[in-house]
């Protein structure tokens, strides 16, 4: 099977992202450190591998966010995100 068919998107990472950030991150806007493109985290492309996931920029394929789960640890590499803007539910 082609890897394109196996790929998911940031919606599928919504659960694990809430382990990290508590509130929903799929609607947050992320700016790619590779190309500067900005879009909802849900539109990043998710590839699964062994113990974790990588979310890639749909524009330039930079790995924006990597999450690996090992026993007792969630290891997160956010170096591909330049900026995250998170909808706030506090001040309406």
């Amino acid at each position: 099977m082609q890897t394109e068919e196996l790929r998911l998107d940031g919606n599928a990472a919504g659960g694990v992202l809430r382990e990290l950030f508590v509130q929903d991150m799929t609607a947050a806007l992320g700016t790619c450190a590779g190309c500067g493109a900005t879009g909802p985290v849900a539109t990043l492309l998710e590839y699964g591998h062994g113990m974790g996931i990588v979310l890639r920029c749909p524009t330039c394929d930079t790995p924006v966010l990597r999450i690996v789960r090992t026993t007792g640890l969630l290891r997160v590499d956010l170096s591909g995100i330049r900026f995250l803007s998170i909808p706030s539910t506090i001040d309406e």
Partner: protein, 257 residues
């Protein structure tokens, strides 16, 4: 801002795994079945959201998958509809083995992007492939609960691609919606069509989208869900047809039917 409730509004409940019990199972099609679940700690959900579900084997091996919520927020229960992939790890268990009274581990609701709120005015264009109908059905069900005036603000069209007519999930309910003029429902069958079938009989393509969708000038809110290949080709075509990428929301299910 109301200071008394400010903090509770600002802090969503922590997402925790819990055991839900299966209340009932319904066979929707030969390959898909709906599980109605009683979830002990459930803060309510939005149409389009999903849950993560995990199976734990006796030796500790775990398999985790996402399943969209089919029920409307006001339905007061959580319904999932799972399509059976013959060589899959999790879906055959959910489709063949799980019985009422069993427990399944899940966490949710999850998602804030692929959601629809009745307050979003303007036409709603839904495109589903296979089990991708599930989160869109939650949107249709929620809209169906609104009064006539509110529904008039949100005309809705569904383009639904299924392998055969027998594989159309929620077929009777969709026919009712169409008969009551509550939604325009357009089916396309990608494999076998019944004798005398006058509807579409091919994969979703540009001509079909052009014929079925509202023009981009009507600024419809578009939701596309299903197998990754369908979602990506439909989203690309819609943007080529002039729809703003920001109004075409997508959710990839992976290599599903």
């Amino acid at each position: 801002m109301n200071e008394a409730i400010g903090e509770s509004v600002a802090t969503p409940p922590r997402l925790e795994w819990q055991v839900a019990s299966v209340v009932s199972v319904t066979q929707e099609t030969p390959r898909a079945r709906t599980l109605v679940l009683a979830v002990p700690r459930w803060a309510g959900h939005r149409a389009g959201q999903h849950v993560d579900l995990r199976l734990v084997a006796e030796d500790g091996y775990q398999a985790q998958r996402s399943y969209s919520i089919a029920s409307a927020p006001a339905d007061g229960m959580v319904a999932l509809t799972v399509e059976r992939l013959d060589d899959g790890e999790v879906s055959p268990y959910l489709c063949d083995v799980v019985q009422p009274g069993d427990g399944v581990e899940l966490r949710g609701p999850i998602g804030g992007y692929f959601v629809w709120e009745p307050a979003q005015r303007g036409p709603l264009f839904l495109v589903a492939g296979g089990s991708g109908i599930v989160p869109l059905m939650a949107m249709l069900r929620q809209r169906g609960r609104a009064d006539v005036a509110a529904r008039a603000q949100v005309p809705v069209r569904l383009l639904y691609s299924a392998r055969t007519l027998d594989d159309v999930i929620y077929r009777a309910e969709l026919e009712q919606l169409a008969d009551a003029s509550q939604a325009e429902v357009v089916l396309t069958l990608t494999r076998q069509a019944p004798p005398g079938w006058s509807g579409y009989h091919r994969r979703v393509d540009r001509t079909m989208l052009e014929a079925v969708s509202w023009p981009s000038s009507d600024e419809p809110n578009v939701y596309v869900c299903g197998p990754t290949s369908l979602v990506e080709s439909v989203a690309t075509l819609l943007v080529e047809l002039g729809h703003a990428a920001s109004r075409v929301r997508t959710e990839r299910f992976g290599p599903t039917g």
